[in-house]
Structure formats: C-alpha cells, structure tokens
C-alpha cells in the first residue's frame, strides 16, 4: 500500500502569473527610466583602467544602449550628488535647552511641512500626507510619502521626537564625563558569581547603546566571545578585561542603559496606545480622554518602578488603575485618581521627570469637566504622542534606502541650515549692510560703527530671514529628490 506521505506527480492547475516582466514583455533595461548598473567603486576603477567599459557599454539593443551600462562619467556625476539630509544634520540625540535667550528661531512645523510638500509636488511626486509607514522593523507616521516613487519625508522636531532621543543625549554627556580623565581601572564594578547575570544584562545594554558603530562591534565581539567561555573564573577575568579596556563605569553605564531603554519603551508604548485608541474620526475630547488615561497609566507605572515597591503592591496598583480607567463617570475617575496618587506619593522617588509628568496630569485632571480638561490640555500644549519617533527608528530610517530601497528624508527642525535670526532692529540687516558694517568695524571708529548700525536699522528694505530659511529648505528638499531619483527611486 502506498504510504500517505509519499510524493507523486500532480499538475498544478492554477498559478498566479508573476508581475515581473517575462521574456515576452519589453525588456525593462530598455525603459528610459531604468537606472544604470550600480557599479561598485572598486569595480568602476578596475573597469575604467582596463578599458572594458567602453566595449561593455555597447548594448545588444539599440534602445537600451543608454541605460544598459552607465559610462564612468555618468556614474561620477551620480556619485557627486549626496544626500543633503544626512543623519548628522538631525542633530540627535537631542537635549532640550532649559535656559537661554540666544536661541535662534526655527521653522515652525506647519511652515516647513507646507514647503516640503510643495517641493515634492513641483518635482512631479504625489506624496500622501500622514502616511503610516509600516514593516516588520518599523511603524512610523511619515509627513509625506509617495509609494509609487518610494520617496517620502518626515519633519523631526519636538512634536514627534521620542523620549529615547532625549535620554540618549543625556547618556552621551554622562558617558563622556565617565570616560574622560579616568584612570584605566574597573571603576567600581567587579563581576563575580553572584552578579554575573546582572552584569551580562548591563553589558548587553552597553553594547546596544555604544557611542559609535566601531565601538559597538568591538565591544559586542569581545563580550560575545567572553560569554562563550565555560570556566566561570576565566569568564569573569575576560569580563574584567573588557571593563578595563573600555573603562566602562558600571553605575553610569547601568543608568544610561536603563534610562534609555525605558524612554524608548515609553515612546513605543505611548504610540501603540494612542494608535489603538484613536483614529481619524476621533474628536478633541476623545484625544483628551485618551491622553489623560495614558498619562495616568504612565505616571502610576513610573511610581511602580521604584525599587522599594514590592510585587504585591505593584499588582494591587495596576488592578486599581485598570478599574479606574474603566470608569465611565469622569468625576469619579478624577477623585479615585487623586486618592491613588496620594497613596502612591509615599513611594515617590526624587525624580524630576516623574514629578513633572504627574503635575501635568494633575493639572489636566483638576478641571471641572471635559471641556476644562481640553482647555487645560491646550494650555499645556500637550500633544498626542501617536507619532513619536524612537531613536532606534530614526537610526533605521537613516539606512532605509539601502534596506528597503525607500527614500525617506528625515528633516530636522534642529538642522542649522534652516535656523534664522529673530527679526530685530539691531540684527535685521541685509547682507550688504552686514558687509559694510564689518568694514566700518575693522577700519572706522566705534562711533562711526554705531552710527551706521542706527542708519541701517531704519532702512525699510529689509531681508526676511525666515523666507531665506524656507528657501534653503526648499533647495535642500529639491536636491534630496534628485539624489533619491539618481540612487534608485523612480
């Protein structure tokens, strides 16, 4: 008898015809939009040297001859265009400035997005606004994306910058201070049998949040090799060697890792929460409700992170929080929330962040009714965090043209090219006036200089620094689209 799972020949009756061209279709190489072969630089040099390109660029088909192979000159031109929105221009990780009056003005979210959208349209693209870009590795809301051409953009500012980005910057500063001027010592951390697992967790964080890629690779390799050592004594010795070599201070590293991880996680959780509870039709009241619920949950969770809160209490608090969130009656909800916060305050750790967050929530909730909540929310300029970008995602977007062949410009509000001086009678000079002033300053007297400043300040024909910043943005966006098209986006 034939076994059930033996194989037999059975014709396949139906099969979906693939969409990529067959030998019967027109060869895509002959299409005018087809990009030249992406020679590696090394190969290009070798080919050019051997003179092979000249022969190879003769295509077997007349129409395809322009596209089949790029000539070296074409390729060089292509290489000369660079991505104007390099990741460094985002200037993240970012730490908000708490004080100071010398801050330059930055383009508003609205102005910048309007200009970028216009440039995209002028360049023949059709960007869909608020495009939810999603794959296995990322889920972000882009300000615009044209799925046909694979080109899009996201304006990165305080509105959509996740907590991890801020925390990472703080981490950088602390890490630097931990490294600088220290002797080559273990700096207080002694991995032993008792804390080996904990140490390994911290090392993983240290690798993950290493300053740069080369350190990340080096540290990762050393750590992974050490992890494979069977003999515990030898393993501990190897770990200590890593600490000595890289001068990692355990307390600093641990704090950086945990803060960073928590901030990234919080951003992701918040976004998931809002994306789940809100949709395109949500009203402002819905948003306010979702926001307060989230902040409440978040603030309670932050209390629960305290080391002195035992597991039973944590569970009780979470149950209580869920019960409160389920309440329909807003007044009752607010009251119970107050009670809970009062109860929790005994666990309050001395963390400014927690107090700041809680205070915000309290202010929002203290309103008499939902309209008050909305009003408070607006006054506090609270934004729904459903579009926050984590640091990891920003870094993923950096190379997305290589991994997904999509071209997404991350344009930062903190990009210095788009900063401009605040209009002021003392500062708002034209370029010519500034040049003249410089000349007077270097050759003339102080009196002459001040006189010229007053004179020029009264000049009616003033430049518009904001318009100049917008123009700079427009130019860079246009260059980005050209670059993306040449790189491979259609």
């Amino acid at each position: 008898m034939k076994k059930k799972n033996t194989l037999s020949v059975k014709p396949l009756r139906r099969y979906n015809t693939p969409i990529y061209p067959s030998y019967l279709d027109k060869n895509p190489i002959e299409h005018p939009d087809t990009l030249p072969y992406p020679f590696t630089y090394k190969a290009l040099q070798a080919l050019a040297a051997a003179g092979i390109l000249v022969g190879a660029s003769c295509s077997p088909t007349k129409e395809g001859s322009n596209n089949l192979l790029a000539t070296p000159q074409q390729e060089v031109v292509q290489d000369s265009l660079t991505n104007p929105f390099a990741f460094e221009n985002l200037r993240i990780p970012y730490r908000p400035a708490m004080f100071g009056t010398g801050m330059p003005a930055r383009l508003s979210r609205e102005d910048a997005r309007t200009v970028i959208y216009q440039v995209f349209v002028e360049e023949g693209l059709n960007p869909k606004k608020n495009y939810h870009y999603k794959n296995d590795s990322i889920s972000v809301v882009l300000d615009g994306f044209d799925p046909k051409s694979n080109i899009g953009y996201i304006w990165v500012d305080g509105y959509n910058m996740g907590g991890g980005i801020v925390a990472a910057r703080n981490g950088d500063i602390k890490r630097r201070s931990a490294y600088e001027g220290r002797k080559r010592t273990v700096l207080g951390w002694y991995p032993g049998d008792a804390n080996l697992k904990e140490f390994e967790e911290h090392m993983e964080l240290a690798v993950k949040y290493a300053d740069n890629d080369s350190l990340k690779i080096e540290l990762g390799q050393q750590f992974n090799e050490a992890k494979l050592i069977d003999n515990p004594d030898e393993k501990i010795a190897a770990y200590r060697a890593i600490l000595v070599e890289h001068r990692i201070k355990s307390t600093i590293q641990r704090k950086i890792g945990i803060t960073m991880k928590a901030a990234e996680e919080r951003t992701r959780l918040a976004r998931d929460y809002f994306q789940k509870h809100l949709n395109e039709n949500s009203t402002q009241a819905d948003k306010a409700r979702a926001y307060t619920n989230w902040m409440f949950r978040n603030s309670v969770e932050q209390y629960l992170q305290g080391e002195d809160v035992d597991e039973t209490t944590k569970q009780q608090m979470r149950d209580m929080m869920d019960n409160i969130l389920d309440l329909e009656n807003e007044e009752e909800k607010i009251h119970k929330y107050d009670v809970m916060i009062s109860f929790l305050s005994i666990y309050r750790a001395a963390s400014m962040y927690k107090i700041y967050d809680t205070t915000k929530v309290m202010q929002v909730f203290k309103a008499d009714d939902m309209n008050g909540v909305i009003e408070n929310m607006q006054q506090l300029e609270i934004e729904i965090a459903d579009q926050k970008l984590t640091l990891q995602e920003a870094q993923y977007l950096k190379n997305i043209h290589r991994t997904e062949q999509d071209y997404i410009a991350q344009i930062g509000a903190r990009d210095r090219r788009f900063h401009y001086s605040q209009p002021s009678i003392f500062m708002n000079f034209t370029k010519e006036e500034e040049e003249k002033l410089q000349k007077i300053k270097s050759t003339g007297t102080a009196w002459e200089y001040q006189k010229a400043r007053r004179e020029f300040a009264n000049n009616d024909e003033k430049r518009d620094p904001k318009a100049e910043a917008l123009k700079a943005l427009e130019t860079q966006v246009r260059q980005y689209i050209q670059w993306a098209k040449q790189q491979g986006a259609y």
Binding site: V9, L12, Y20, A46, S59, R402
Partner: protein
C-alpha cells in the same frame, strides 16, 4: 544542463574511488578502478573526433569521479593533451571536487591549465560532517573549509555545490548563509533526487525556503553580487526564453560521460560501479551505439502525460532525464521530487521577485534583464 549548439561537453570519470562516503552518493561501491592511460588517450581521441566530425567550436571537458583528484596525474595529463591538440577548438575545463585532497601546489597546477573548480559543500560544519564523512566515518568539514579558503584566495568566483537531503532540508537557509559567509558568491543548490523524500520533508523544505527568501531579498536590496541557483534559475525561467528541446543538453548528443573503463554514458548520473547496460551508449574503442543513444534521447524528450495541464510546466525541469532516472528509475517518468519541489519553491521565488520588481530594485532589474550582468558581476566579484 544545457549546451549551445556549437558546444560539446565530455566528462571524464577518472576513478570510482573516493575518500569520502557521502550519505546520498549514488555512484555505488567505492572501488579502486582508475581510468587507464590508454583508455584516457582513446577517450581524448574519441572526443576530438566527435568534435571535428560535428563542427564543434567549443569543448567543455569535465573531470568527475569518485574523487577526480585521486587521479591527479591522469587529470593533468588529459588536460595537457587537450591543450596541446585543440587546434581551432576552444577548450574549457571544469572539475567537481570535495576539496579534501586539494593542496597549494596541486591548485597551482590546475589553475595553470585554467581548470575551473567547483567545490562540494553541504552547508555548516555540522551538516557537512553529518552528510560527508570520510572513509573512516569522521567529519570532513575542516578539510573542506580549508580547501574553500584556498580556492577563494585564488578565485573569488569559485562555485559551491550544496546538496540538500531530507535531513538537511530544514537548514537550507542557514547552510546558504554559512556558505555565503565563507565568501562564496556562486552557490548552486541541488536536491538529493534519489533520497526518500516525503511530504513532511517537503513542508520543512518549504519553511526553510521561506527563510531563504528573506535572505535573498535582503542581499538583493543591499545590491550584493551573487548567484543562488535555487532562486535565480527560477526567476530566469520566466525572464529568459525557455530552452527549446534542441537547445537542451540533448542527452548523449551534446553531452556524454566516459566511465573509467571507457564506456560511454549519456550523463554523469548513469556512471556507477554497478553498470547499467541499458544506458551504455557506446565505448571509446568503437564509438557510439546510435540506436541506443537515439532511444534514450527520444525517451527522455517524450511528453510526460502526468504533467499535462500543469501551469508551471514550461518553467519546470521535468524534462531532465538523469533527474527523472535518479528519482523514478526511468528517464520517461517525471520525478515526483522535482514536481513537489517546483510547486513549493516557484511561488516563494515569484513572490520575492514580485516584491523586488515592485520596488524596481536596481540589482534585480540588472541581474535578470541586463544581458551583460553575468560578465560585469563576475568582474566585480573577482576584482
């Protein structure tokens, strides 16, 4: 296997002996029966005579075994004679080896004669050790890895043949990744067609191919240059004009094998220690038995009624006589292993290709539609 009209491919099986005992080997008992010098000479004369008689412009001489490097002196002798006496005919050499006997001096000799070497590696060291033990039953992965490094240092475009068995099927993606990680950029995967494949094995293979599809897509998006037969061949079965029967290997006509004793067979598959008289198509002493050769060729080209109405028939290799023979014992019957394999692999490959096309992946477009891609990518890999 396909040959152009002006090319003749002759394989010299230098010995039945092999220092490995691969679990899936189909060539029978490993007997120390090398090809004699006299037989080799007659074989060379016979090949030249056939080539000149048929106006062949290109000769592809392949060395096979057993393990051909066991008879290295004979191998070099045959190559030298072909080089000396080729006249106007373009002669190319290929050799398939397990690599364990490859030494730097010997490699120099092979490269000097421009013998293109294809190495057999079945995947990661664990899989290779399991599937390719030596005569003493010990794993050979270290020796093969060493040979791989040696070969790559001389020719970065070295081809690797990776045999997939029912046992190694779940690890195909890892195997390919491992081989790629070693630096090989031309990877040919092939099934053990004589293996006892079941539907469960095929399901596991399907899951492994799905993983491999992710790998393939990533590499393509990263614009890496490589050839992976299981995916690229299937994409080419759509993008390239399908081979007409006259363009195929024409089993026995444009391709034949010379066994160590001088007997002629239509393909390497039929050269085993246990002789198969029905597939002997002649002898180097007295030439082809035309009736026999004609019968086998016609039998293999016959329409397969079991494939009638199949939507992917034109893209499938059910015409391959040796695969059909290995799988069913008959050249006329389509192989159920091939049938199942194509049915699981083709949709996976087409899905990946569709995605890459949708994105207008530059590498995809050039790899599959640019006629000079094979040359350019080869130069880039070897540069």
């Amino acid at each position: 296997m396909s040959c152009s009209i002006h090319q003749l491919s002759a394989t010299f099986h230098l010995t039945h002996q092999c220092n490995l005992r691969c679990t899936y080997c189909y060539t029978g008992e490993k007997l120390n029966i090398p090809m004699s010098k006299a037989t080799a000479d007659k074989g060379i004369d016979f090949v030249f005579e056939e080539a000149r008689k048929n106006g062949i412009e290109k000769l592809l001489i392949m060395f096979f075994g057993g393990e051909p490097l066991i008879e290295k002196a004979l191998l070099l002798y045959i190559a030298d004679r072909f080089i000396r006496e080729k006249g106007d005919i373009e002669v190319n050499f290929q050799m398939s080896t397990n690599g364990t006997l490859l030494m730097p001096n010997l490699l120099d000799e092979l490269l000097r004669r421009r013998i293109y070497i294809s190495l057999s590696i079945d995947g990661s060291p664990e899989i290779t050790d399991r599937q390719r033990p030596n005569a003493a039953g010990k794993g050979t992965s270290k020796a093969i890895e060493k040979a791989g490094r040696l070969l790559l240092s001389c020719n970065p475009a070295t081809n690797v043949t990776c045999v997939i068995t029912p046992e190694s099927a779940p690890h195909v993606a890892e195997s390919v990744d491992w081989i790629y990680g070693q630096g090989f950029r031309y990877i040919t995967t092939t099934l053990d067609y004589s293996g006892a494949w079941t539907t469960d094995d095929m399901q596991q293979l399907k899951a492994a191919y799905q993983k491999l599809a992710v790998w393939y897509e990533r590499k393509m998006k990263a614009q890496e240059r490589f050839y992976l037969s299981s995916f690229d061949e299937r994409i080419q079965s759509r993008t390239m004009n399908p081979l007409k029967p006259t363009e195929r290997c024409l089993i026995g006509y444009k391709q034949f094998s010379i066994a160590p004793d001088g007997e002629l067979y239509p393909c390497i598959t039929f050269v085993t220690t246990e002789k198969i008289p029905e597939f002997m198509i002649g002898h180097v002493e007295h030439g082809f038995n035309e009736d026999c050769r004609d019968y086998i060729s016609r039998a293999s080209e016959k329409e397969k009624p079991e494939c009638a109405g199949c939507a992917i028939k034109d893209r499938c290799s059910s015409w391959c006589a040796c695969v059909n023979y290995m799988s069913t014992g008959s050249v006329e019957q389509a192989s159920p292993v091939v049938c199942h394999h194509e049915k699981i692999l083709m949709p996976i490959v087409d899905k990946v290709a569709n995605r890459l096309w949708k994105k207008r992946s530059r590498m995809f477009v050039h790899k599959h539609y640019n006629p000079v891609y094979p040359i350019i990518s080869h130069i880039e890999i070897t540069a």
